[in-house]
Each structure stands twice: as structure tokens, then as C-alpha cells.
């Protein structure tokens, strides 16, 4: 009897129990798997750098040929192989600015309606859900709707703007149907869910004490919103707008279908124009010459770098709020 207690289980041959469990096979598997997941994680990240490298390498002939003058040149002639990015950069920026001018106030209104207690919760939460559903609609479908519904609706408005406000350079030309203004409006629809959803999160994150204090001082709801809620959430709201801008800069299908795709720089918002994504979408399928492909790749590189910068800024701004 005593004998048995003396023996340690570790040295026992009768009891097969190894507490240190250094089972060679599973340990090897575990280590391999650990390296494997690390490898996959690095693969995922490598995609981003690979993308930058591939686009840069293909753009290189054009970068060599045109240099930075590419950004300021207005030529786009496939026959003579002289390319310039200005009309596309201009169209991208102007349509995005129009989109922001519409989507920021509307998105803020949606965020306020869905975060304040204007409406009972059972109305409020489906409302937010429905607005976010717009983001689920494929952009080519929004573009289809743009061509057949929005353009005919906007046409008389464009004519009215031209006839009554034609002295303003922005409305100086006769509307033709597709143009910068419809593109901006379509973009606003596309980026609205981003703006609304993130702004609502930002507003809900404002400490309750601030709101209560403002109310206790006698402020009305809207005075509280304008003097307390919006100022204290300003960094997050700017982040939401920046993220929306990133979306707008890169949005392709909906824009390509309503902007008219004409490579000109015109002050008038009623004129057809072109954006970087729209020229990529329309010309890549037919590009054969190395320099033409290079110029398109150069445009893609510009878009890649700009949206990267905008998104990084937005992520940092929104992250600062959430932590």
C-alpha cells in the first residue's frame, strides 16, 4: 500500500498521465498553425502594397513621359498619345464637393432624427436601418435609375437654372441631360448612408452629462444641439464627412452613367464632364497602346494615393472619438 503512494505519477509506468503534455505532434501543429495564420495576415496586408506596386509599375511609362505636368495638362488625345489629367481631376473634385454639400446636411439631419428622441424607438431604429439600406443597393442600379428617372426629373430644373440664373457661371450653359450636377446628386445619394450612420454613432457617444447640463441651463433642444452636441462631436463628424468624401472620390458606376463622359473643364455644372473613375471604366477595355494604358494607370495611381490619404485621415479622426 505504502509503496504505491510513494511512486510519483510522472515516473509511473502503470498510470499513463503526463501532466506537462508535451505531446510532440500537437505542439508542432500548434506552432505551425501559429505561423500559418501570421503568414495569411501578412498576405492580406501585402495585397495593399502589391496593388500600389502593380499600378505604379504599369504607370511608369506615362510617369516618365509626362511627369508632374500630367496633373495640369488638359489634352487627352489617344491618336497623338498626349495625355493630361486635369479634366478628370477637376470633374472628380467638383462632383465630390457637390455630393458633400448635399449629403452632409441631409446626413446630419438623419443622424439627429435617429439619435434624438423626436420619434419613438420603434420608428427610429427601422428608420436608421432603411437609410443604411441604400448602401446595399449596387451602384450600377442607382446609375440605371439615374439615367431613366433622375435625369428626366432634373432636366426642367436645369433649364430653369440656366434661364433664370444663367448669369452665374455655374449655370451658364444649356443643360444637355447628363452633367456634373446630376453626378453630384447621384453621389450624394450614394454617400448619404456613410455620413448618416457614422454621425449617429458620434452623436450617441456624446456624454449625457453635457446634454443634461445644457438643458439645466435652460437651453432648448436645438440650442443644445448647435452649441453642445455638434461642437463636442465635431472631430467625429469631420471624420464621417471625410470618409464620405473618400467614397465619393472613388465611386464609379453611378457617376459614369449620368456624367456624360466628356473630357472638358467647364465651370458650368450643367455641362457634361468626366471623373477619374469614369474615364477608367470607359477606356480601359479598349486601351491597347502602352502609353494609353500607362496614362490610365497613372490616373488610377493618383486616385489610389488620394483615396488612401483621405481614408487614413478619416480612420484616424473617427478612431480618436471611439477610444
Amino acid at each position: 500500500m505504502i509503496d504505491r503512494f510513494d511512486r510519483s505519477p510522472l515516473s509511473s509506468t502503470a498510470v499513463d498521465l503526463d501532466l506537462t503534455a508535451a505531446n510532440g505532434e500537437t505542439r508542432w501543429l500548434d506552432a505551425t498553425f501559429s505561423w500559418l495564420v501570421r503568414g495569411f495576415a501578412l498576405c492580406t496586408v501585402a495585397v495593399l502594397f502589391w496593388m500600389g506596386w502593380v499600378i505604379f509599375r504599369q504607370a511608369f511609362p506615362a510617369i516618365q513621359q509626362f511627369g508632374l505636368g500630367f496633373l495640369a495638362s488638359q489634352d487627352w488625345d489617344i491618336g497623338t498619345l498626349s495625355f493630361g489629367a486635369l479634366p478628370y481631376i477637376y470633374g472628380t473634385l467638383v462632383s465630390s464637393v457637390i455630393a458633400l454639400l448635399i449629403a452632409v446636411p441631409v446626413g446630419l439631419a438623419v443622424a439627429l432624427i435617429t439619435s434624438e428622441n423626436f420619434l419613438p424607438v420603434w420608428v427610429r431604429s427601422p428608420l436608421g436601418f432603411i437609410v443604411e439600406l441604400i448602401a446595399a443597393i449596387p451602384s450600377v442600379i442607382v446609375g440605371l435609375w439615374g439615367i431613366f428617372v433622375l435625369l428626366p426629373v432634373l432636366m426642367p430644373i436645369g433649364i430653369w437654372l440656366n434661364q433664370n440664373l444663367g448669369w452665374i457661371p455655374l449655370f451658364a450653359t444649356e443643360p444637355f441631360g447628363p452633367g456634373l450636377l446630376p453626378a453630384g446628386i447621384i453621389l450624394a445619394i450614394m454617400i448619404l448612408p456613410t455620413m448618416a450612420a457614422i454621425s449617429r454613432d458620434v452623436l450617441l457617444a456624446v456624454p449625457k452629462e453635457l446634454r443634461s447640463a445644457s438643458g439645466a441651463l435652460g437651453a432648448t433642444r436645438w440650442e443644445t444641439i448647435f452649441r453642445v452636441m455638434l461642437p463636442s462631436g465635431i472631430a467625429g463628424l469631420l471624420g464621417a464627412a471625410t470618409l464620405a468624401l473618400g467614397r465619393a472620390l472613388g465611386e464609379t458606376m453611378a457617376v459614369v452613367m449620368v456624367i456624360g463622359n466628356s473630357p472638358v473643364v467647364s465651370l458650368s455644372l450643367l455641362d457634361p464632364a468626366s471623373t477619374i473613375p469614369s474615364v477608367l471604366a470607359t477606356q480601359f477595355g479598349e486601351a491597347l497602346d502602352v502609353l494609353h494604358i500607362g496614362a490610365l494607370m497613372y490616373l488610377a495611381l493618383i486616385l489610389f494615393v488620394v483615396t488612401l490619404a483621405v481614408n487614413v485621415a478619416a480612420i484616424l479622426m473617427v478612431r480618436a472619438i471611439r477610444s
Binding site: V37, P138, V140, R211, T220, E223, G285, L303, I315
Partner: protein, 303 residues
Amino acid sequence: MNPARPTPPIASLADAPEELSVPLPWRRRIFSHSMTTIAFLLTGLALLPLFAILIEIIRRGLPQLSWETLTALPAPVGMTDMADGFGNAIVGTLLMVGVATLISVPIGVLTAVFLSEFGQGSTIANAVRFLVTVLSGVPSIVVGVFAYGVIVLTTKEYSALAGSFALGVIMLPIVVLATEGALLLVPQSQRLASAALGANRLQTTFRIVIATALPAIMTGILLSIARAAGETAPLIFTALFTENFPRGLFSPAPSLSVLIYNYANSPFVEQNQMAWTAALVLLGLVLLLSVVSRVITRKRSDA
């Protein structure tokens, strides 16, 4: 609960000291009411496009919808006695999204496993997470250009593979971020219990963490599939389009979204109408996927 709402003047206090019952000055009251009105109007404006799009798609797309439309090949323009449809585009979309899912889900899920199980809190994991978030913001047209550079320029031909590759790259960050979120919801105590029973990290990860988080991971995958199915920009100049059923991964393939784009720009009214029907089918697919996945998450977060 509602401190900001102005108190209405009370009749019985009318002859009490004035400052107790002063109603809001006109200017503040008008400001309040007009801002509320504006906010409601703008919210109504925000809802308008969604309903307009849905109504229009159903009104214009439903009349042509039939079994033939879903299975037949596109008829040549002007041939009214032939069955007209876009079965090839449906097959092409399913093929490319399927291959994209096969590419992105394993890589994405394992990357998420690294972020939440093996590298949690480390600098490298934070850097990976940040870059994946950045990757999710890259415009889809740029991803298309990338696929064009990697596959089309190398193989010298447009192919379904290039389209799948582009869609896979678009899905990847969505899968990673959704899966990581799902894995983080698994209580730490379950991992500890598994370790206490003698499981190593590989066993804990597969038998406990992923098994528990599986419904939420599925949600994320469904959402990424919905997103990829609707993408057009990366397919126009990688997979192109064909009038026939896709012949495999190494030749061009049709897709619903590119069909909508081509038909929308077509001068023929029949093709314009068919674009609406294709939009109805595509939207039905996408909305079904995203509503189903949202319902799954909502139930889980309520529980």
C-alpha cells in the same frame, strides 16, 4: 428624460411672479420649430431615393420577369419570337462570386484568427488591422485596375479569373473585419475553460472559438458576397461580357451587373427594359443576402 423641451406656460401660474412662467421668446420658439421641421424634411428627402429606386425597379422590371428571362440567353435585338433572357449573366455572376468567395474566405478568416487569437494586442496585429481597414476603403475601380495589371496584362486575355480575383480582393477586408468582430464576441472565459481542459490554441481556436462564432462569421461572409455580387466597376475591363454562358475561368464571362450597365446605355428599348429586370433580380439577391445577415446579427445581439 427630455430636459430640452420648453415647458408650456401653465394657466394657474399666470398671475404668479412673471419670471416663473415666462414662455420662450418668439425667436427661440420659432428657431426650435423651424429646425425640427427642416430636420424632418431632410430625413424625408433622404428616404426618397431608396423608395423611388425600389418602386421604379419593381414597376419597370417585374413585367418581363419569367422563368425564360432567368434561364434563356439574350436574344439578338429585334428577334421578338425568340426567348430573351440573361441566364448566362446569372451563371457568370454566381461563378465569379463563388470563386472570389473561395479565394477570400480562407485567407480572410485566418487573418481574423491571427488578429483576435494569436496576435491580439501586438503591434503587428494593430498594423494589420489598420491596413485592412485602409484596404476596405480602396475604390473598387482601383481594385479592377489592379486585377487588370496582375492577370489581364500577364495572361494577355480578359478572363473570369481576373474578375474573380478583383471581387476576391474587394471581399477580403470585409471578411477579415466581420470575422474579427465575430471572434471578439466569444467570451474570454470559454477560451480559458478550453485551455484548462488541456486544449492547445489550435484546438481552442477551431473547436471552441470558431465553432461559437460561426453564425456571426457566416453573416459577414454573406454581406461580403452581397457586396461582390453588385460590383460592376472591377468587372467591366477584367471579365468583360459575353453573349454566351461562361466557358470556364480562362475566358471572358458575363455578369448581371455588367449586363445592366451595357443594357442601360443601349439605344434599344427592349434592352433598356431588360436592364430593369436584371436590376430586379440582382437587387433581390443582394437585399435578400443583406437582410438575412442583418436579421441573424440582430437576433444574436438581442440574446
